[in-house]
């Protein structure tokens, strides 16, 4: 079964652009990305769009569908209101390069600013021992496919270019939580307090736990509840309660 749909796709570049209408065939079972591909193949061969796996695994095809940040390859046409125009625009938080493609360099820059995993001294490769229940928490965060939809949606930076330098965004604050919860990360031994760094250098304080990031995460990661809030609670403890801070330092050294 197929029908004609109206797609309204943003076309343009850094200089500006506009929504362009396409009448396009839609077949049973298709996802938004299929339809965008059909527009490319039949009407606009130079329509710029990123995609790789078409299976929700690589996080390349992020865009805003009817205003909501989503993966185009995981959004089935049948889940959109029937008969209504489908509007696709690029992620708003990042500068447009062309059409649906944005410059996501911000994220790569932030990734670089998060101090890497610090391997424990004296534990040789092959000698790492960790219990499953101790790695579960960090593993949840490592499901992240870096689609950057959470970064796109977070109001701290969405319409606030000025906050970008100071705020790593939910994806990378979560990365800090991940390392902080890694059972063998030796940051403490090197005098690096990841929680404090999140607060002091990566803008954890900007987050007011609205949970919008969690809502758009295609991997269903509980970013706010499981990463940001625990990070905050402990960061707050440490900041305002020297005893808690000292206690945790001592136990880490052991």
């Amino acid at each position: 079964m197929s029908y004609e749909a109206t797609f309204r796709v943003w076309r343009g570049d850094a200089e500006g652009g506009e929504l362009t209408d396409f009448q396009v065939e839609v077949n049973d079972g298709e996802v938004v990305l299929d339809v965008v591909h059909r527009i490319q193949a039949t009407q606009a061969p130079d329509l710029a769009v990123r995609w790789n796996c078409k299976a929700g695994k690589c996080g390349s095809c992020s865009a805003e569908i009817n205003g909501r940040p989503r993966l185009m390859c995981m959004t089935r046409m049948s889940t959109l209101p029937p008969g209504e125009t489908v509007t696709i625009t690029p992620m708003r938080t990042f500068p447009v390069l062309r059409d649906l493609v944005t410059d996501v360099g911000f994220n790569y820059q932030k990734a670089r600013e998060i101090p890497a995993f610090i391997p424990p001294q004296g534990v040789k490769p092959g000698e790492y021992r960790m219990q499953q229940e101790d790695v579960n928490r960090s593993q949840e965060f490592r499901k992240c496919i870096e689609c950057f939809l959470c970064q796109d949606t977070c109001h701290v930076v969405r319409d606030h270019e000025e906050n970008k330098p100071a705020f790593a965004g939910p994806r990378f604050l979560m990365r800090m939580a991940e390392l902080d919860m890694h059972p063998l990360d030796a940051a403490g031994d090197q005098g690096l307090d990841r929680k404090a760094t999140a607060q002091e250098e990566h803008g954890l304080g900007y987050c007011n736990i609205t949970k919008c990031c969690t809502e758009v995460c295609p991997e269903g990661i509980k970013i706010t509840d499981n990463a940001l809030i625990p990070l905050k609670e402990r960061a707050v403890d440490r900041k305002y309660d020297p005893l808690v801070w000292l206690g945790s330092k001592i136990s880490r050294r052991r």
Binding site: G29, D46, G56, Q139, L179
Partner: protein, 654 residues
């Protein structure tokens, strides 16, 4: 003279998948200035899609496992066509490569005693695959990506510049390897964002570009799999071997059309899923080949008992090797017993409680629910074969990963030899790390020896490469590259697919030749800035070259082995095991005749101590009389009765 952005490095790695990143990390740790080029964003390479795991005989779950057993399984999987030395190095080094990932922050699933958990997989005798649920590839990519970042942080501390010694050029596509005389001098390509050209000068280039699946219509592969590295190597004067061997995974989604080809993991069958045709029959019982007859259940009852009691029952034929299952499904559909959408039914809903299915197969449950509106806990899936992996690739020296072109190295799916005629699940991810590291190491050493005598990039080659890349813009009223691509995919699928016939492959070659001519005049609209039509027009050259290699080699090899099945030559022939088919670029291509020449090469004889790991009875199935070890009595008796197929095939997936 063409305007290009220019850079200079010691080592250039083309590809940021598992193989490319591991190579780059090594080259950088050897102190060489290293560039990583990838045509998508950093962290999005195809490796991210790998699900099941990474094979390494760490022996965490069964301490009987060791590199010899892994080597044996790999050779059997590849039907002994593998380069024995690659299989040996791979089996020996895989554990170290996996352990090292932990020191870079990887978090694998754990055993009860806190070590890396390992799961069963098709063709592996013991539980061997390190994994993270069903997203192992993501863990691998992220770990390597984060290791690159940590090296950059190190450089930042030392030099105040993150990119002092390792730099990622993302969304840069290489279209030519440049040469100075015989040796490599760098790479040429375009930036996706601006469409501008770039040249990176370097004495050593590592190709790590992955596979070729996008030449087939139904595939589990991603956008990037247009065979670029295979083609770049050919164009630079290297040769490709084993190109006739393409792995079709038996279970890909078949409906809806938009998801056709997406992988349905083998764990579904490992956990009890059964295959049925439209008559409701468990047809795999009709497809047990004679060589496997003793090892597979004859009745459904026995097959079903195996899931609980593997010691006293034989396993169900749904768990036959992948090529067997793929062929059986193909036959059922051809005989008119397929599903409405041209597949067969894979049913787990009547086999396990819904709760159990959701627990064991979360991503499959999610995938079918989201993409096909199918609740696998309540109804069967429809599945059919999908093009999954290419065993063929650049012919390399096993120890150094270097091709026959000085300065050109290759690792990962783009390299050939390691997997012979058929790859075992999990053996790719380990291959990426083992040979990625070797390629990086030897590229670094090679770059070092170049010293002051560095190759010089030739302006004429740059001009020619630029002209080639711009051609699609000047093709007046040229053909739509999307249309050409679809025709190519259809032809390969129909004519050089799972089951091959002489006449069809000849027709394929003719079609490829005409498509090649038409592709030369493929035209594009718009400008150079992020223009997918243009990119596809350029990728066509690569897909056509690689497809010709596959078709030509498949036509030549008159036997059936692993990922190459000839209806007109259904048996495996020991004589053919000694033959490798090598493709290279014709010096003077005759118009309409194609661009590739084929050469027969001898497959190097397996080292004796490695041969001794197998029993003579088993070797007889694969080797010719005169290859068999002379003195049978010398063989350790316990080896002689090793059961060729005593492998755990449950819980398997690629």
């Amino acid at each position: 003279m063409t305007e290009v952005e220019r850079h200079g490095f010691d080592v250039v790695v083309v590809g940021a998948g598992g193989a490319g990143l591991r190579a780059a990390i090594e080259a950088r740790e050897q102190g060489r200035r290293t560039a990583i080029i990838c045509k998508s964003l950093f962290g999005k390479a195809h490796t991210v899609m790998a699900e099941g795991g990474i094979a390494a005989s760490m022996g965490n779950v069964n301490d009987q496992d060791n590199w010899q057993v892994h080597f044996r399984d790999t050779m059997r999987g590849g039907k002994f066509l593998n380069h024995w030395r690659m299989a040996e190095l791979h089996a020996k080094e895989a554990p170290e490569r996996v352990w090292e990932l932990e020191t870079w922050g990887a978090l694998f699933d754990r055993t009860k005693d806190g070590r890396i958990s390992q799961r069963n997989f098709g063709g592996h005798e013991y539980p061997r695959l390190a994994h993270v649920g069903d997203r192992t590839g993501l863990e691998l990519i992220r770990t390597l990506q984060q290791k690159v970042v940590s090296l950059q942080q190190e450089d930042f501390r030392e030099h105040g510049d993150y990119e002092a010694r390792i730099k990622v050029f993302q969304e840069y596509t290489v279209t030519r390897v440049l040469k100075d005389g015989d040796r490599v001098s760098g790479v040429f390509g375009y930036q996706r964002e601006s469409g501008r050209f770039f040249v990176i000068e370097a004495p050593a280039v590592v190709l790590a570009t992955g596979g070729i699946g996008k030449s087939f219509k139904v595939t589990s592969n991603s956008w990037e799999y247009t065979g670029d590295g295979h083609a770049l190597a050919l164009l630079a004067g290297a040769s490709l071997i084993n190109m006739e061997f393409v792995q079709f995974h038996p279970t890909g989604m078949v409906w809806p059309p938009s998801v056709k080809g997406i992988l349905v993991t083998e764990s579904v069958r490992g956990d009890g899923g059964v295959l049925r045709n439209s008559d409701g029959k468990r047809f795999m019982f009709d497809y047990i080949p004679d060589v496997f007859r003793e090892k597979y259940a004859e009745t459904e009852e026995e097959g079903d008992r195996w899931y609980q009691d593997q010691a006293n029952n034989r396993r169900p034929p749904e768990l036959l090797p992948r090529d067997e299952v793929a062929r059986a499904i193909n036959s059922e559909v051809k005989a008119g017993r397929g599903t409405p959408h041209g597949g067969v039914f894979l049913d787990v809903s009547t086999r396990l409680p819904a709760e159990e299915i959701r627990r064991r197969l979360p991503s499959m449950h999610h995938q079918f629910k989201e993409l096909a509106d199918v609740d696998i806990t309540a109804e069967p899936m429809e599945v059919g074969p999908t093009c999954h992996y290419v065993m063929g690739g650049v012919e390399v020296d096993p120890d150094t990963a270097s091709s026959c072109v000085p300065g050109l190295f290759a690792a990962g799916e783009v390299a050939g030899g390691m997997h012979g005629s058929n790859r075992l699940g999990g053996n790719s991810l380990s291959d990426l790390l083992v040979f990625g590291r070797r390629a990086g190491l030897h590229a670094a050493q090679y770059a070092d020896t170049a010293g002051d005598d560095r190759p010089v990039v030739d302006q004429e080659q740059i001009d020619a490469a630029a002209e080639e890349a711009l051609a699609p813009f000047s093709a007046d009223g040229g053909e739509n590259p999307y249309g050409l691509h679809q025709e190519l995919q259809q032809s390969m699928n129909d004519l050089v697919g799972i089951i091959r016939r002489e006449g069809e492959m000849e027709e394929a070659l003719q079609r490829l030749a005409t498509l090649g001519e038409r592709a030369e005049s493929a035209g594009v609209e718009g400008h150079r800035q992020f223009n997918p039509g243009w990119h596809l027009a350029l990728d066509l050259r690569n897909m056509l070259l690689v497809s010709e290699c596959v078709a030509r080699a498949a036509l030549e090899r008159q036997e059936s082995r692993g990922g190459h099945t000839r209806e007109d030559h259904p048996a495996m022939a020991a004589e053919w095991r000694r033959v490798l088919l090598a493709c290279s670029l014709a010096d003077k291509p005759v118009p309409g005749e194609g661009a590739i020449v084929l050469q027969r090469k001898a497959n190097p004889a397996i080292r004796e101590d490695l041969l001794a790991l197998f029993g003579v009875d088993e070797l007889k199935k694969y080797l010719t009389e005169d290859e068999l070890p002379g003195a049978e009595a010398d063989l350790p008796p316990q080896r002689a009765d090793v059961d060729a197929d005593k492998k755990s095939e449950n819980g398997a997936e690629h």
